[in-house]
Structures are given as C-alpha cells and as structure tokens.
C-alpha cells in the first residue's frame, strides 16, 4: 500500500526534530550530518500568530525538477515511490532547484549537489520523530481524503 | 585582408547537404582559398546545420586543413619512411634554410608555404618534394634547392 505525507501545519510546534532526524539520516560517509530535506518555515501570520509549516517534497507525479533535468539525474524509485536525486548523474546545472514550484529541492552548501526528500527508503524518519503529529505518513487513500494539496492548486489557479 | 566570399555558397551547394559532406566541403573551400577563412567555417556550419564547434574541431584535427592563410606556392616535403632513410631531413633543412622559415610557416611575402607531410605514396622515388601538386622525385639537396625560384 502506497503511503503519502500528510502535513498539518496547525499541529506543528516548530521543534525541528524532523529536520534533525533528516540531517542525521542523510549523514555523509564521514559522519557529517547532511542538509535536511525537510524545512520548517515559520511565518508571521499576523501580529499575534506564527505559523509553522514543515515543508517537504510532495513527490509530484509530473515533477518539474525531473522534467527539466538535462541528464535524468532524478529518477523514480518504484519500490518506495520516491523521486530520487542521483548525484552520479548530476551535472549541477541548478535547473531543478529553480524549477520546483514549491521550493522543496535545495542545494547542499557543502557538496553543491541538489538534495531532496528520498522518503528514507520508504520509512520517513521525520515522521517518526515528529512529537506532535504535524507530519504523518498515511496510506494513499487516507492521506488523499485529508489532503489539502488540491486546494493549493485551486488557489494557485485562481491567483 | 578583404576577401571575396561570394563563391562560398556555390562551393557548399556542390555537395550533398549533409554532415557527411563536411570534410569534402572544407577541402573544396581550402582548394579555392588555400586556407579555411573563419567566415567559411561559419557559413558551412550554418548551411549544414552542424555546430560551429564541430566544424572548428574538424578543421584543426585533420592535417590538410589550415586556418592560417598560406602562400601562393605550397611546397610539401614528404617525410615518409622511405624518404626519411633516403635523407628527407636534409631536404627539409635545405628548404627551410633557403626560405628562412620552418616547416608549417609561410614566407613574409606570402610566396611560399613550406609543409612537412607524412607519406605521399611516391616512395619508389624517394626523397620526394611536391611543389604545387607537382611531384619531384629522387632529389638531393642541390636539386631540391633549385625547385624554389629564389636565390
């Protein structure tokens, strides 16, 4: 059964556990933590309220990053359903980063290679470490019911 | 130098318009101008829809092309094995001395270009010098020197 992320910003307490979990999961061979693929964005909604949103790759079906990549460095892992970036094929043209409409693929400042969520081989660590349930990993149908993604698109379209 | 490039399209049009003809087109252009002017490379690249960088690559890879203007008379000293062991180096030295240039160069008055070439396939009459497509065989230093119409 395929799973999807289900993100509920209202539950996020901005503890950054997910970022840490991600960074350590993607440590280099020498043990250096990597750049986190999940990013908690804190935005001031109004004077009294902050909104914390964990932002992570949505593994779009027709991903702009994969479409624009001139060397096919972004390839689907059919087992986990993750769109995975392969450094070996990458020529660091920066196009994928610019192409992602959500800003969910970034450059690792150390290696200068793009990094994006690879779903931790099908068992996302960020979910395991989230104390508040702001980010959950649910079967597709369940996630789909709760999904707000279509609304984002709708919103974007009317913009 | 102002040159007339009006004949270029005609030269290119003589061949099949495919990248297969590229080398032969360049040869014909060189035949006409004695070298490959940059304008010619650009036009050839455009006409055949071949990247200019590839045309430049080919023009410098093959021995017979020159991107520098060459002299009125082209003197080629054959340095094939048969010529080598029959003293082609002496002939080359002599011609270089006589023209005051090294192989691959052109005299300042643009009269002569001296080229050292690998075997021209006339080994039986080694050593051989070719002046403007005419073969001169069984040469020695003095005979070679006489091939040049200058003191």
């Amino acid at each position: 059964m395929e799973n999807r992320f289900h993100v509920r910003p209202e539950l996020c307490i901005a503890c950054k556990s997910c970022e840490l979990a991600c960074a350590f999961t993607h440590s280099s061979l020498q043990g250096q933590p990597g750049k986190s693929r999940i990013n908690i964005k804190v935005i001031k909604a109004d004077e009294s309220r902050l909104i914390n949103t964990p932002l992570i790759c949505l593994q779009c079906d027709e991903a702009a990053c994969a479409t624009i990549c001139p060397t096919n460095a972004l390839q689907w892992n059919l087992e986990t359903g993750a769109l995975v970036h392969h450094d070996l094929r990458c020529v660091r043209c920066h196009l994928c980063v610019a192409a992602c409409p959500f800003g969910n693929i970034y450059f690792d400042p150390v290696t200068d290679y793009p990094v994006k969520c690879d779903l931790c081989d099908g068992d996302p660590m960020c979910v395991k470490f989230c104390p508040s349930g702001a980010i959950t990993w649910l079967p597709l149908t369940e996630a789909e019911v709760n999904r707000i993604q279509p609304e984002i698109n709708e919103e974007a379209d009317t913009d | 130098m102002c040159q007339d490039f009006s004949r270029l399209p005609e030269i290119i049009a003589r061949h099949r318009q495919s990248s297969e003809s590229l080398i032969m087109i360049l040869q014909d252009i060189q035949q006409e101008y004695h070298y490959l002017p940059p304008e010619a490379l650009t036009l050839t690249a455009e006409t055949l829809a071949v990247p200019l960088s590839k045309v430049a690559s080919i023009a410098t890879f093959y021995n017979s092309f020159s991107l520098k203007p060459r002299g009125k008379n082209i003197v080629k000293v054959c340095l094939g094995t048969a010529c080598h062991i029959r003293g082609a180096r002496l002939i080359q030295d002599q011609l270089e001395h006589k023209l005051g240039i090294s192989a691959g160069e052109t005299t300042s008055d643009s009269e002569y270009t001296l080229e050292a070439v690998a075997c021209v396939g006339a080994c039986a009459m080694a050593p051989v010098v070719i002046v403007n497509e005419k073969y001169h065989g069984s040469l020695n230093v003095n005979k070679a020197a006489k091939l040049l119409k200058r003191k």
């Binding site: - | 690998a118 080994c123 039986a124």
Partner: protein, 617 residues
C-alpha cells in the same frame, strides 16, 4: 547503355577485343604517380602529336594507353610496346618519334632505351624477363600497367565484372560468403582477419541497413599499394565491393580515399560514374533485384583514420577519434549499423576468387595465408617499386631477387614491415617466410604492405625515433597512454640519439611500452611501440653504442657525429652552397675544411659530394 544480362556483358567484351585486334601494335605508357612525376604525361602528349603528323596504319590514338602503375617506378617513365612486350625505361619526349618510327612501325628494338640489368649489365628486351617481374605473381595487380584505368570497357574487355555477373546470377549470397571463406582470404589491411568470417558475422547481424566500406586511407609512411591499385585498376576494387555488398546484403558503400592521392580520387570517381551509367551501380544491378551504390569519402590527413572506428567517424563527417571496440564494427560500425570494412587490396582479390574459385586461390601462398601480397618495396634497395609475391616467399627473395639487392652493394641491415605498427627484422631473419603469422611471431607484422629496406647507413635508433615522432604527431590525443606515453617514449629515444641516454632508460622504454600496448584505446597506441621494441630486441648493441660510447655507428644521429673532409677533395665547391651554416671554407681546387664550431652536422655536404671526400665519424 545499360547492361542487363550476361549476354550484353559478353557483347561489350567482344566489341572491345575486336576493336583491339585492329591494332598491330600498342603503346602502354605508365601513368602512375611515379611515372607522371617523371614526365609520363608529356610522353603521352608527344605520342599523340607525332601520330597526328604521321599517319600509321594499324595504330591510332586508342592504341596509346595511359595505364596504371607497373610498379617499377624507379625506372619511369615506362613505355611498353605490345604485343612483343618490349620494355623501354626512362623515356624522354625527344625519343618518342624514334619509338614510333622504329619500334611501332617496324617492330625493331631500340637498344639504348632498354633496361640494363644492374646485376650483370645486360640489356633486357622484354618486360617479363626483367628480374623485378620474373619473381612476382601478379593476381591483384593483373591489370595494372595493362589497361587504361579510366576506361570501363577495357576492364570489361579483360574479363572484368564477369565475377560479379557470376555472383549475382548463379550464386546465393551465402554461397559467395562460403566461397570467400574457403579461399582463406585474410584482410590485407594488416590485421589478417579472415574476410569470409567477417562477412559472415556482418550478414548474421539482424539489421535493416548494412554498409560496405573500403579503407583506402593508406596512412603508413612508405606504402603505396592501395594508391596504385585505386589509380591503376579502380574497377577491381569496385567489383569486389559490389560482390561484398551482395554477399552481406548492403545497399550503400563508401570508399575512403586519402586526400593525398588526388589521382586515385579522380579515377575512382570516374569508375563509379561509369558503373552507374551502365547499371553496375545504383538500382537493379545487372537487371537483378539487387541495388547498391558507392560514394567517395575523402580523408583529410590523419593516420588514425586507418583505424576502423576512426575511419567510420571520418566517413560520417566527424573528427576521426577511435572508440573502444568491445562491440566490433562489423556488428556496430558506420552509423551504428553492421559494416564490412576491408582494405583496397582485399576487395581487389575478391573478383578473381569468385571467378576462378576458392580451390584455385587457396593453392597460392601458404595454408594459413592464402594468396599473394602486394608490397611497396622501397628504401635502400636497387629496384624500388610495387611488387606482388605469393605468401610464404622469403624476405631474402623479395629483397635480393625482386629488389635486386642493396644500393651500392652495401650490407643489408634491416627490413621494416608494417609501418608504424610493425617492426624491423635483422639479416638473421631474412629467410623467414613472409606470412601473417610468422611476421607477427617475430615482432613485426604484415601491415598493409610497406617494406622498407635499410642498409648500414641507417641508424636503427633513429628509425625508432622517426616512427615515434610520427606517431606522436598522429596520435588523436584521446587516451592518455598513447598521447602522453608515446610522447615520453619519444623523449627517451631522443635522449639516446643525443648521447644522453643510460642503460636504465632502455628498461624504462620497455616498461612504458608494455603499458602503452596494454592500456591504449586503439590499434595506433597498442602497436605504436612496436618499431621501438623490435629494434631494441634485434639491435640492442646499437642502442648501447649510443649510450656507452656516445657513437652512432651509422653516422646519422647528429649529436654524436662530426663531418670532416679528406684528401679526396678536389675543391669543386659543391659542398659550399648547400651548407646552411656557412661552415665550409676553402679555395677553388684546393682542399676544403669544415669549421667544427659552426657545423651543425646536417650532412648536406656529404650528400652532394661526388668524390667521397666528406667523411662522418
């Protein structure tokens, strides 16, 4: 005119022969590159001018033929009067009238134009009696020097295209391949791969498109076999290619000719056009279902383009860089399609094999190397030129019987075969039979057929240096061992030539060579160290002489020699002019002296001295 069946082909042949019989005598004038350089065209023109003036019965313009190369380029321009086969050498325009009046009209031989046997000083009247020709067996060169290469009717008249007719009408493609396989024909380009097996592999690959390519990029310095064949008998090559195309099922062919061979390009082009006109190329050849066409691709001067994958790139109009051939080009060649690539001589062998049969062919030569081999016999040998001998003949017979021995009766030192990929063999190897496997086993190789004879005035270290210099210039630069390795190897040999080498350098050369051989991408690098390795193996003392005693025994390496003038000097002054360094001084008719401080050891003085007065130490 379009030939649609066997009868029409026979008719063309008969017409030609009938016309030919009208002439009581014919003059065959060699117009190969060698003879042209010696003024053969002027002889042809003179013949026509004189004939215009004098009306001779039984003789017309058509009886004056400019033919391809006889091979005896040394003695050009050559004129042969048929049917007697009277052989005139070094003919001058002023002698043409005499030839017409005396020989053609009356059949009387002109003594002074005959060839003098260098061995016994005897005059030789007839062409086949000359030593140079008696020891040869001319199969591939059967038409060279006999027919006018630009006239397709002459080729057909001499039995040409009968093999194609036979193959197309009476043989299945598979039968053609089987016949070639049984003949034992091996690739004449140097590798010696079985031609039949190559064709079979190509035919077996499933593909919509196949190509037949002829390698006429004779890049080996010191070789001109392919040049002479393309110039002198282009139809034999085309016929071989068309048969190959039929056998493997190809519809497009390319013939890759070096640009340095302008005459070959012209003759091949003419031959292709003539073939198209009479329906031997193009759609429905000979009125059959089979269609095939050939285009010329001109090379532009790159030795590496003799390598199959580089050649195919060059044909496609790209830079001639080889690719690794773990998948062979016969499977994935030109435009990634299965491609048969053979050299000029291989294709020229094909028609006669089909014509006379594999059984006839494989009796010539040795069991493992069937047939003959064309060599360009050049260097310090008396009779230089193009020869064809059966495989298995010894080097000694080639050099001393066909070649007439060494110039000035100097001692034989080495013979170089296989060009920059081959090696040098010493006199102890002179009795080796010449075939693919024996030469390879002894550190040289057959190569495409350059055979360069060297005497004691040739320095073997310098020869190795020469070939390495050539290869460094010709390396495409793609892979490191070839680009950098050969360069460093050349540096090491150069050091020896300059008298600065050490014995360790010799070991280093060998070690580096091994890596270049094993590590290089293509044949150019893999065989590049061969000339060095073979000279190191057979002439190590000469290297040691350079290193230990700082002496070049052959008097070639400039850093190790000095020139002096001895008392034989007559003071003629001939040496003063070519001396670029102005190092020679002396009064007229008195002994001249070389100023050793100014002398750069170029050797020009020695080359021009007629009195053996210049000595080298």
């Amino acid at each position: 005119m379009c030939i649609k069946n066997s009868r029409q082909l026979k008719q063309v042949q008969r017409d030609f022969l009938t016309r030919d019989k009208q002439f009581t005598r014919k003059a065959l004038i060699c117009c190969g590159t060698g003879c042209l350089a010696n003024g053969a065209q002027a002889i042809v023109d003179e013949f026509r001018i004189v004939m215009k003036k004098k009306r001779i019965t039984g003789f017309s313009f058509e009886a004056v033929r400019s033919t391809g190369c006889h091979g005896f380029c040394e003695q050009g321009p050559l004129v042969i009067i048929e049917p007697e086969g009277i052989f005139y050498t070094k003919v001058k325009t002023s002698q043409v009238t005499d030839i017409i009046d005396t020989t053609i009209r009356k059949g009387v031989v002109i003594e002074r134009l005959l060839f003098t046997n260098p061995v016994d000083g005897q005059k030789i009247t007839h062409y086949p009696e000359v030593d140079f020709f008696t020891h040869q067996q001319r199969i591939v060169l059967r038409n060279l020097g006999k027919i006018a290469p630009h006239d397709i009717k002459e080729y057909i008249g001499n039995g040409g295209y009968a093999a194609l007719d036979k193959a197309l009408r009476r043989m299945q493609p598979q039968e053609v391949i089987d016949e070639i396989s049984r003949s034992g024909l091996r690739g004449r380009g140097g590798g010696g791969f079985s031609t039949g097996r190559k064709w079979q592999t190509c035919a077996d690959v499933e593909s919509e498109m196949r190509y037949v390519v002829c390698n006429g990029d004779e890049g080996d310095p010191g070789a001109f076999m392919d040049r002479s064949i393309m110039e002198g008998d282009p139809h034999a090559v085309l016929e071989g290619m068309i048969i190959a195309a039929y056998a493997v099922g190809a519809n497009q062919g390319y013939i890759y000719v070096r640009e340095e061979y302008p005459l070959a390009v012209i003759h091949v082009q003419k031959a292709i056009e003539d073939c198209r006109e009479i329906g031997l190329l193009g759609k429905n050849i000979f009125g059959t279902e089979f269609s095939f066409d050939i285009r010329i691709a001109r090379g532009a001067g790159a030795f590496v383009c003799g390598e199959s994958s580089a050649l195919m790139k060059s044909v496609a109009g790209e830079v001639g860089e080889p690719r690794a051939k773990y998948i062979r080009s016969v499977v994935k060649g030109l435009y990634d399609q299965p491609t048969v690539l053979n050299n000029v001589e291989t294709y020229a062998n094909v028609p006669i094999i089909i014509d006379k049969g594999a059984n006839w062919y494989c009796k010539i030569g040795t069991p493992k190397s069937a047939g003959t081999k064309v060599f360009s016999l050049v260097g310090k040998v008396r009779n230089t030129g193009l020869i064809e001998v059966p495989m298995g003949i010894t080097l000694r017979r080639i050099i001393f019987d066909v070649g007439g021995g060494i110039i000035d009766d100097r001692p034989f030192k080495a013979v170089q075969t296989g060009g920059p990929s081959g090696g040098c063999l010493p006199d102890s190897m002179l009795d080796l039979p010449v075939d693919f496997d024996t030469l390879t086993a002894n550190g040289s190789m057959m190569g495409s057929g350059g055979m360069i004879v060297m005497d004691d005035l040739t320095c073997m270290v310098d020869v190795a240096r020469y070939f390495l210099e050539f290869l460094v210039k010709e390396s495409c630069g793609k892979c490191v061992p070839c680009r950098e390795g050969l360069y460093q190897l050349h540096g090491l040999v150069q050091k020896v030539c300059a008298g600065q080498g050490s014995e360790q350098d010799l070991d280093r050369m060998e070690q580096l060579s091994e890596v270049i051989v094993r590590g290089s991408l293509c044949g150019l690098g893999q065989s590049g160290p061969n000339p060095l390795l073979s000279t190191l193996k057979y002439f190590r003392e000469e290297y040691l002489e350079h290193i230990l005693h700082r002496r070049c025994p052959a008097g070639v390496c400039r850093d190790l020699i000095i020139y002096t003038i001895n008392e034989k000097c007559t003071g003629c002054g001939a040496c003063v002019k070519p001396c670029a360094d102005v190092a020679i001084t002396g009064e007229k008719k008195k002994l001249h002296v070389i100023d050793q401080d100014k002398c750069t050891q170029c050797g020009a003085c020695m080359a021009v001295c007629n009195f053996d007065a210049v000595e080298v130490h």
